[in-house]
């Protein structure tokens, strides 16, 4: 009992991080599964996504989900980016990212020796992965806008080679995001105490 009373809890994820994280999970799951159904209506490449992994039932249903959840994704993303910049969290948690440190961490990760003992500090591989994920989501939203409005937003679409180019950019950014998310979820499975921390925001001090 005395030991338990001495345990100190430290908050490492503020409330805005946890709320935007889980809203983003919901938005991304809807966007990806409905997006795969939309892709299947006219595949860019010589494969389709399994119907069982898609949302919407048919193209029209998938488009309804996609164009509903895009508002959640964009609004939540803007709140996240504004809070991350204003609070200094991005600078504090994700910076610096040096290629040497990232490569060293990735080698260590592949050997199963990557340390993530202090959950309050991200290693270089994590910093690179989270920063890339944020960038991938920004590119996804921008290329999505270009595919949605290639005439009204033709200047934006032009940066990606027009409508057809924006489709390819949208697909590539989706692929990058999904790969990072899969690695992220595998890492959470390997270090399971990170999961409750993203809900409560707290870690035991010194743990």
């Amino acid at each position: 009992m005395e030991v338990a009373q001495q345990v100190r809890w430290v908050r490492i994820h503020p409330l805005w991080v946890r709320i935007t994280h889980w809203l983003n999970v919901l938005a991304v799951v809807i966007m990806v599964t409905s997006g795969w159904r939309i892709y299947n209506a006219s595949p860019l490449f010589s494969f389709e996504f399994p119907s069982s992994l898609t949302l919407g039932g048919w193209l029209g249903g998938a488009l309804q989900w996609h164009f509903a959840a895009m508002w959640l994704l964009a609004a939540n993303g803007l709140v996240y980016l504004a809070s991350g910049v204003a609070s200094g969290r991005f600078r504090q948690k994700l910076w610096p990212i040096t290629p040497g440190a990232v490569l060293a961490d990735m080698r260590a990760a592949l050997k199963g020796r990557l340390a993530h003992d202090d959950l309050a500090v991200y290693n270089a591989a994590q910093r690179a992965a989270y920063a890339t994920l944020i960038l991938a989501l920004i590119v996804l939203v921008l290329s999505g806008l270009a595919v949605w409005k290639p005439v009204q937003l033709q200047e934006l679409a032009g940066l990606m080679g027009g409508y057809e180019g924006a489709r390819v950019v949208h697909f590539a950014a989706m692929t990058l995001m999904v790969v990072i998310v899969i690695v992220h979820v595998v890492m959470v499975a390997l270090v399971p105490r990170t999961l409750p921390t993203m809900i409560t925001g707290r870690i035991r001090s010194g743990s």
Binding site: V29, I30, G60, G61, L63, Q64, F67, W71, Y163
Partner: protein, 253 residues
């Protein structure tokens, strides 16, 4: 003086209430999927209806957002003829061998609703209207796109000539293949919105919508009806063949 006329007899079989109830049924039946059910596992029928309603409300919200985003002066890109897609894809809700055959001599374009001069138009009369050409990209709701050359009369020119109430909200189209759709007045008056009579410098072939199709480079392909036999102007939401099944109504590009 403006005279309010209900959207033409013969055009009124799609009553507003009927459209709404059809829309709802289709939403409930098709708006949800196994994927959605898996995501919302354990939900009952009432919750499914709620999800369908939520998606319907969001689609209406997206109509308003797109109307705000629509710039009546912004033109879709035009391409050189060398960029034209060959062969240009055929696409409809039926197979190519079911394309309607329309007799040139018997054809009349009917007008209805908030239009002053509702006399039917023959093809020679339509062909005598001022004609312009455009090489633009048609983007299908499915995702693919193709560049083609269409020639015809700006819809704006025609609507002004027949004395349409251009302050009305909608322009609706009824087609020989029982397709129907409708667009917002702002898009109807856009300079690139054409009543197209020709494709690739030839009389519009049957598979591309003989004798007249709408060509709107600022909207998705399914908002470009083919084989048009009636145009009406109205303030009552007319819906559309695909729109009533769940495609977003505005569907601007």
């Amino acid at each position: 003086m403006k005279k309010i006329i209900t959207p033409g007899e013969g055009l009124s079989q799609y009553g507003k209430r009927e459209i709404e109830s059809t829309e709802r049924r289709l939403f409930l039946r098709q708006g949800l999927s196994l994927g959605a059910l898996a995501l919302l596992s354990g939900c009952n029928v009432t919750e499914q209806e709620d999800v369908g309603k939520m998606l319907h409300v969001m689609s209406g919200w997206n109509d308003r957002a797109q109307a705000l985003l629509f710039d009546p002066a912004k033109l879709a890109a035009e391409y050189p003829e060398s960029a034209i897609t060959k062969p240009f894809p055929f696409n409809a809700f039926y197979d190519e061998d079911e394309v309607p055959e329309i007799d040139t001599a018997d054809y009349r374009l009917e007008l209805a609703g908030l239009i002053r001069d509702r006399k039917p138009w023959t093809l020679p009369e339509l062909y005598a209207l001022p004609q312009v050409s455009q090489v633009t990209r048609l983007i299908c709701v499915e995702g693919w796109s193709a560049i083609g050359k269409w020639s015809g009369t700006p819809l704006r020119t025609f609507l002004e000539r027949v004395g349409a109430d251009t302050t009305a909200r909608y322009v609706g189209f009824k087609c020989e293949d029982d397709y129907y759709t409708s667009i917002d007045m702002a898009t109807a008056l856009h300079p690139q919105t054409l009543m197209a009579f020709r494709f690739a410098d030839q009389i519009l072939p049957a598979k591309y919508g003989f004798p007249m199709r709408l060509r709107i480079p600022t909207k998705l392909g399914f908002k470009n009806p083919k084989h048009i036999r009636a145009i009406f102007v109205t303030n009552e939401y007319p819906g559309g063949y695909w729109e009533d099944q769940g495609y977003n109504w505005f569907s601007g590009s």
